[in-house]
Symmetry: C2
Subunit: 201 residues, 2 copies
């Protein structure tokens, strides 16, 4: 069995990443989403161990000091992190693992996993991004301005990723993501062990 592929997916808030990942996971049963640890409170409908591992700040800091995290980040007043052991186990089992993290986390992960594959998702334009953020209708102008600034900052790191998917049409973006996963599985470097038994090259 081949080791799984580690996919790093980043996007500014409002690009549609979460909906796309949900649809991608439903389409491709070999994919699995890495479950992060976070110190933030669970939102309605979020389940511990499914959407996040919800941990107390003290527990998070202890794991951080112990070097358990592959990547970690502070977003606003909350901490997020991915336990390296969780990811390594899934990959060794042959699962392809998706990490939904920001550009800073992506840099940390690339150091440990140079064969990881970065995908950046963009909204079709800045104007559309702002429309989507306002469309939620739940946030103040100040919060939206902060999110827009953060989105612009995130987007300046898009060129650190291997692939770029513009989410102008949801179905088109989903097809592109699914194609990237299939293509990556067919890279020669990932297939040698699969065909070595059949051909002596």
């Amino acid at each position: 069995m081949n080791e799984g592929i580690l996919l790093i997916v980043s996007a500014p808030s409002g690009a549609g990443k979460t909906s796309l990942m949900k649809a991608l996971l439903a389409r491709d049963p070999a994919l699995t989403l890495s479950v992060s640890c976070t110190t933030r409170a669970a939102r309605p409908g979020e389940q511990d161990g499914v959407h996040y591992h919800f941990v107390a700040p003290a527990e998070f800091q202890a794991a951080l000091r112990a070097g358990d995290f592959l990547e970690h980040a502070r977003v606003f007043d909350n901490w997020y992190g991915t336990r390296a052991a969780d990811v390594r186990t899934r990959l060794a089992e042959g699962h392809d693992v998706i990490l939904e993290i920001d550009w800073q986390g992506a840099r940390q992960v690339r150091e440990c996993f140079p064969t990881s594959v970065g995908i950046f998702i963009l909204p079709p334009s800045i104007a559309e991004l702002e429309r989507r953020l306002r469309g939620r209708g739940t946030d103040s102008d100040a919060v939206i301005a902060r999110r827009m600034a953060q989105a612009r900052s995130e987007m300046t790191h898009a060129d650190e990723y291997k692939y770029l998917v513009v989410n102008d049409r949801f179905d088109g973006a989903l097809d592109a993501l699914a194609a990237i996963v299939v293509a990556e599985r067919h890279l020669m470097v990932r297939q040698r062990s699969r065909v070595a038994f059949a051909f002596a090259f």
Copy 2:
């Protein structure tokens, strides 16, 4: 408009490359097949300018001496070659161009087009390859033995290609090829010009 992608597709005879390329071209209208020049005689049903440019040996040698060919090869008693000007024109028009050539031609093309993308197609096994070659029922044992030897030789160069597709199920191999094309179009290096207008990174 972005420049098109040059795809180099190689396979041993009997791997199913020609049928796969035909189906791939039917599925993806942005793809176009490069039409090679050859000195061999047209087979029944083959049209000049569609399947090949059928040229006289003297004409082929003159073009070869003039440096017109991106790649060329002698296969058995016939010459095959791809005119560089044809490929550059198609790519500049934004078409993604497929070159169906052997490993020697692929090496020549990679020198001129370092951003070209190599795909190698394998049959599921040597035994299945021989069964397919015999299945045609039109060739003598000596011809089949020669083809098998050539196929083995071609396959020893599979690892010079970026992608590997095993044609065990036709539909699965076709899906993989289509996914590779879509994924390549979404590589960051090919998309910068597309999104530069929207974002200042």
